[in-house]
Amino acid sequence: MRIASFGIFILLVFGCGLTALAQDDPIDMVESEIVLPAPASKVIALNHKYDIGEILDVSWESSTSDPELVFGYIIYRSEGDNKFDSVGAVLSKINSFSDEELIPGKSYNYQIGTIGASGVALSEPSEPAIPDWELFNLEMWNIALIGFIICGAVIAYIFSAKAGRKLFIRKIGGLEALEEAVGRATEMGRPILFIPGIQDMDDVQTLAAITILGKVARVVADYDSKIMMPVSRSLVMTSARETIKEAYLSAGRPDAYSDDMAYYVTDEQFGYVAAVNGLMVREKPATCLYLGAFFAESLILSETGNSIGAIQIAGTARPGQLPFFVAACDYTLIGEELFAASAYLSGDPKQLGSLKGQDLGKVVAMVAIVLGTLAATLASAWDIEIMQKFLDNVMLGIFSNH
């Protein structure tokens, strides 16, 4: 209510100001004193779609008077008893209004007042309209559909992997480099440094890193080389120890395992980095592996690794840190490759199935982009109408809510 009166006040003040300006010309003055602006016409109130029945959308055709002399519109509402109260005001360029916070199921009609210099001209009242609610938001059908397809594919692949079907995953380039790097450390008789990021076990990237650690530790156990793994979370330390121990067990050398291989340093980011840096400079590992979630330390670690001449392999899904790893390390697992590597190595049906489902999503994306681009090109370069229609109604209908 208050905003309505405030709006009217502003519009009227504005109007008077303009009238005063117009007073240089006596004819204008006379005109504005007696002539009201033409009222707005065709006032229509419609139920607002896909809400909980609290909104009506009011629209009208603008006044036919000189736009310079129309300062705005006031929206009046009545609850069926022909007693109209103002509920809002808009500037003259606008010809629609959403009346919110109504009572569902009740009937309302509207009247539009056109504000001119000399007063307000009322339109005919609209037909009554009832705000109503809908069960489904049909505007979201495309999201529901695509979500259904992708989620369905993920679930289906997971179940089929669980049922024992072999799902093909291509060999990941970095994994070969990984084995080579471990081998080189053995040849040189120097240790391998493994950093699983600085996040806790609740980060997917840390989980992927621990999976890969299992493989690396197995090679280390086989070749009898040395692994060092300072970590920044105590939970990560626990799981890392379990993983390394298991690798040594399955290599048949449980006696060679020691708890000192993985140890906790500190939770503090820079404190941890300082400790790892010191370790690198003292022990001079031949191979450094940085796999997991990294932040600003990515660059400090890889720089130090570079200065001691180590082979460095990194992998993270954090796009902000990837550039530093790519520029400074010998090989980098980029983004999803980290997860694919972990799925590839573990053979876990959940990870494999998920990856497959995501691949299907990528196929959908690629096909859609090709079709959409073709349609857009044909439609714009040679004005082919059917292509424009295809683009607007089919492709954008499915792939856009804008």
Partner: protein, 304 residues
């Protein structure tokens, strides 16, 4: 006086770079502390002499300016302070530039934050910019400080449909229903433009996902340089433009100054940061070049 100083400093910096090059080619290791000292003095020199450059805005920044410029008086502008002091030098100038531009256009300002530290910075904006430069604006009628709420994207998910549920009161514990600015605002979808300013999580990306796209509200994020490239895919449909890092802020400040002479004398921190920024970029680029020259020379030797 300062002219000579500038030349001497530049001579020292570039002389130093050449020395490092010679050293590196000879195969000697340059201690990283020397590099650190180098960066420190190069940047400090440029700050000391206060070198300023002219900026021409790029389209992506100009789009933001033009949109705010073309909105009718009294439009609703929401600015979210989603950053902490660590990001402040980059993005705080953007927040202040948006505030100045909105108030000079007589728009209504809604200030909020998804980061606990953001509210304190919002207070700085209100004390140092709004109260000083725009003494005529009235709290509650022209601008409101909603303050911080915990819950990241959860906050956004509520305000996109219902502001009052998340903010029953403003930062001063005043009931929101008694604030005139909220008379015709039900949700964030009622805003005419939203400036999410930040660079972490939650930040501009969450605003696009949880408010911009579902509510179809024009978004113009102000971004810390680190995340700016990540937001480009949302341009031009999901965001109308963006300001990336101190350069983006400097461009905005320069258009604001040229359009509104009254801002000629207010501080433009981003513009004055571009001098040191340029010098530091040159130093870093030189380091990359020196490093690679050494690298290739070594490799050649090894191959020969």
């Amino acid at each position: 006086m300062s002219g000579i100083g500038v030349y001497i400093s530049l001579f020292l910096i570039f002389g130093g770079l050449v020395t490092i090059l010679v050293y590196s080619i000879k195969g000697r290791d340059v201690d990283r502390r020397i590099i650190f000292a180098f960066v420190f003095f190069a940047t400090a020199t440029a700050i000391y002499y206060n070198i300023e450059f002219k900026e021409t805005p790029t389209t992506i920044v100009k789009n933001v300016f033009d949109r705010l410029e073309s909105l009718p008086e009294g439009s609703k502008v929401l600015i979210s302070f989603d950053f902490d002091p660590a990001m402040k030098p980059e993005v705080f100038p953007m927040a202040n530039a948006f505030v100045r531009h909105s108030l000079v256009k007589k728009h209504k300002l809604y200030l909020m934050s998804l980061w606990p530290q953001g509210q304190a910075l919002m207070t700085e904006t209100i004390e140092d910019v709004i109260k000083v430069e725009f003494p005529e604006v009235v709290y509650g009628e022209d601008y409101v400080m909603l303050g911080y709420k915990a819950g990241n994207e959860g906050v956004l998910n509520v305000i996109i449909t219902n502001f009052r549920k998340m903010y029953p009161s403003d930062a001063h514990n005043t009931n929101i229903d008694s604030i005139p600015l909220f008379d015709d605002v039900k949700s964030a979808a009622d805003m005419d433009i939203i400036f999410p300013i930040g660079g972490g999580k939650p930040g501009p990306k969450e605003w696009i996902l949880f408010v911009g796209d579902p509510g179809q509200v024009p978004m113009a994020p102000g971004l810390a340089a680190v995340v700016a490239p990540l937001i480009y895919p949302y341009y031009p449909r999901q965001v109308i433009g963006l300001l990336g890092g101190v350069k983006g802020a400097a461009e905005y400040e320069s258009v604001l100054r040229s359009k509104y002479p009254r801002f000629q004398d207010v501080p433009a921190p981003a513009l004055s940061m571009m001098g040191p920024q340029t010098l530091a970029h040159i130093v870093i680029l030189s380091f990359i070049v020196i490093g690679n020259i050494t690298f290739f020379m070594k490799r050649k030797k090894a191959n020969a």
